[in-house]
């Protein structure tokens, strides 16, 4: 048998056959290790936990188109790919448009989004009823609900009309050199279209009217009658038909002042079509916009949204519904909730900017900053408690080992009488300490995970992730603590006089 084997045999025998005392030491180490590993788990899990808590205050990162390229679902998807999946709590895309409610002749802001993601990025949304799930279901803000008297289950007609939407935009589009097009209902409500080009001064330089849909030889003349068309050249928008009242139909001709410079004469016998041309021009917007489809659909209100903020004046629907309604696929913004600290967020924002996806990322500073400060304080607290617990454990183990040494005085004296050097005595006690530390560490590591789990579930309401490195670290730390705690007792053991074994002194 080797010396090492005998050493281990003595130590294990000491621990196994002298259970009661050793159990106390083991227990104190295990309790210490439990608290240690539990708190460390929480220490490392707190940022994640608290991150999730903070995420309930809303998005901490916003993605927008950079102004040159439009943002689409595809480019957003790619941008999100730059953020670690494990840290991305949610990403809600938004598209905002002006929606009309023909029944009330009112306009509201409509938002298309992904409600599953909204739940993650805006957990503070309080919905009375349900989030929309199916097509043609909408969530409306409380403010709107109160204005129009809508309730859950109400049916609303909403329409997206690019021309109307843009009446005000039309003015913006009337800049020099612009090419505009518009359409309006003519005779028998059949639409005609008109295109104009503006010169440097913003005056009409050329005009083209497609009136082929109008009554041939009568209404259709508005597209071919040179005298009629020539009147428009040199005039500025908006215009009105001489002799008529304020504008009618979809246009907002009423805007034009009573100014002969902005009047045109109708083609004889084709007043309605002539009016349509004027209306079309007044509502004309840049050509691409004009290409958009006008659409009206019925929606069912599934829920009323309360947030205390501007969201209460929005109408929310699924992105799919909005895209179908508008015929557009662009996104205005995406709100992201990312479980990361300010530094990491900056890093991700940088990565998104560098990716050339035409997307810029902005941080919501208010949220990230307060998050960092609260986390710092919490971690400092956990750290402090850990240090105190470690100290208490050391005191407890040290006291127990001290008792063990005085209980074994005679045995230590005997060993020394038999020729044990101070070194041997030191080694044996340290060996027992390390053994206890290791055993206590294993126990504590396991119990600590359970402890952290319980704390986490009760305090944070979510379970924790197991840190695989934590068990070996706990065991090593326990061994170190046990070894350190044994120093004083060992010193006392070494000082024992072997002569005590003689004569039953």
């Amino acid at each position: 048998m080797t010396k090492r084997k005998m050493f281990l045999r003595m130590i294990t025998a000491s621990l196994l056959r002298r259970r009661s005392r050793m159990l106390i030491a083991l227990l104190s180490i295990a309790v210490g290790a439990t608290i240690l590993s539990g708190l460390v788990t929480i220490y490392y899990d707190v940022p994640r936990q608290m991150g999730a808590q903070f995420r309930s205050y809303g998005a901490n990162m916003i993605l927008l188109a950079d102004g040159k390229t439009e943002m689409t679902s595809e480019s957003l998807e790619k941008a999100l790919g730059l953020i670690p999946e494990s840290e991305l709590v949610g990403a809600a895309p938004y598209r905002y448009v002006r929606l009309d409610m023909p029944s009330r002749q009112q306009s509201f802001t409509g938002a298309g989004t992904d409600f599953e993601q909204v739940l993650k990025t805006s957990p503070y949304f309080s919905v009375e009823g349900e989030y929309p799930v199916n097509a043609r279901e909408i969530l409306i803000g409380r403010e709107i609900a109160e204005t129009i008297g809508a309730k859950t289950g109400s049916s609303l007609e909403l329409s997206y009309k690019p021309a109307a939407v843009i009446s005000e935009n039309a003015e913006q589009d009337r800049h020099s050199g612009a090419s505009l097009s518009g359409s309006a209902e003519g005779f028998n409500k059949v639409p005609l279209t008109a295109n104009v080009e503006l010169d440097e001064e913003g005056r009409i330089a050329s005009i083209e009217v497609d009136a082929s849909s109008q009554t041939p030889g009568i209404g259709s003349m508005v597209g071919t009658d040179k005298a009629f068309l020539d009147q428009f050249i040199g005039k500025t928008l908006p215009l009105r038909l001489s002799g008529s009242g304020s504008g009618s139909g979809e246009s907002e001709g009423g805007d034009s002042e009573d100014n002969p410079a902005q009047e045109v004469d109708a083609v004889t016998g084709a007043t309605v079509s002539s009016q349509a041309v004027v209306d079309a021009l007044n509502s004309a917007v840049s050509s691409e916009k004009a290409a958009a489809i006008e659409n009206t659909e019925h929606f069912t209100v599934t829920g009323i949204l309360s947030t205390g903020g501007e969201e209460e004046s929005y109408i929310y629907m699924t992105l799919k519904d909005l895209q179908r309604l508008t015929g557009e696929e662009t996104l205005d913004v995406a709100e992201l909730s990312v479980s990361a600290d300010a530094e990491e967020l900056e890093q991700y924002a940088g990565a998104v900017a560098e990716s050339n996806l035409g997307i810029t990322a902005r941080l919501v500073k208010r949220v990230t900053r307060s998050e960092a400060s609260v986390l710092g304080k919490l971690q400092a607290l956990v750290f402090l408690v850990t240090v105190v617990v470690l100290l208490l454990t050391m005191i407890c183990v040290s006291t127990t080992m001290m008792a063990v040494v005085s209980e074994r005085r005679r045995e230590i004296g005997l060993r020394k009488a038999l020729g044990a050097s101070d070194q041997s005595i030191r080694k044996e006690f340290l060996g027992e300490g390390v053994f206890l530390g290791g055993l206590g560490g294993i126990l504590g590591g396991i119990l600590g995970f359970v402890f952290a789990q319980v704390v986490s579930v009760n305090v944070f309401g979510s379970s924790i992730t197991l840190q695989p490195l934590l068990l070996p670290i706990t065991i090593l730390a326990s061994i170190a603590i046990a070894a350190l705690s044994c120093q004083l007792p060992i010193r006392r053991a070494v000082a024992i006089d072997p002569a005590i074994v003689l004569k039953g002194e």
Binding site: M1, A417, A499
Partner: protein, 224 residues
């Protein structure tokens, strides 16, 4: 040739002279008993011979080497290498079995060897009890284990402190028989006792009184 020689040693604790200018000589292979009432200086002498204490004055020659000025560490080495100890109260490691207790001595001396330890137990008639814990052994058996432990490293000197003090007569005889065997094998034995019967088993008895050697008695019946 003298294995152990105490030359004019004194041990002084404050005003008390526990040993007062004592000189004794023990030859190799000799069996000596040290007797005396309590307070006579027996224990102090035993401590000094056992390398657990140093005299205040005088020389201690063990195997011709003066050990009276050696460091504690050196004394431990000497004790481990040359001396086998037997105590009145047996002193076994309570959580180790009989054979393990013998092996502890081997462990500190050189290498634990279970076979050899079992043989030593066989010599004291306890091979069958090797796996028993001290609490499962009688007093006599425990002391026999201690004898086995003392002789396992083949020490030049076996120092026994009241080895039969806690034993009944039957067990006392067993232990004394073991001593006789050891003596016959040439082991030097120093037995501290207050029991005249035990002292009579030795070749020579040194009687201490008040820290001095009162007289020495040669046992003429020895070996008969």
């Amino acid at each position: 040739m003298a294995l152990l020689e105490l030359k004019n040693i004194s041990k002084i604790y404050g005003d008390l002279k526990a040993l007062d200018n004592v000189s004794i000589k023990v030859d190799k292979g000799e069996w000596v008993a040290i007797m005396g009432p309590s307070g006579s200086g027996k224990s102090t002498m035993m401590n000094i011979i056992g390398c657990m204490d140093k005299p205040s004055m005088g020389e201690v020659l063990l195997d011709g080497v003066d050990i009276s000025k050696e460091s504690q560490k050196k004394l431990t080495d000497i004790r481990r290498d040359k001396i086998g100890l037997i105590f009145q109260q047996f002193h076994m490691v309570t959580y180790l079995t009989a054979v393990e207790n013998v092996m502890v001595s081997q462990y500190y001396h050189s290498m634990p060897d279970e076979e050899e330890a079992l043989e030593a137990l066989g010599r004291v008639g306890l091979r069958e009890r090797a796996k028993h814990l001290p609490s499962q052994l009688s007093g006599g058996e425990q002391q026999r284990v201690c004898v086995a432990r003392a002789l396992i490293n083949h020490p030049e000197l076996i120092l026994a402190d009241e080895p039969t003090g806690n034993l009944d007569e039957a067990n006392e005889n067993i232990v004394l028989d073991l001593f006789r065997q050891l003596h016959n094998e040439g082991t030097t034995l120093i037995v501290v006792t207050h029991d005249p019967e035990v002292a009579e088993a030795a070749q020579r008895t040194i009687v201490l009184e008040h820290g001095r050697v009162a007289r020495e008695v040669i046992n003429e019946n020895f070996g008969k």
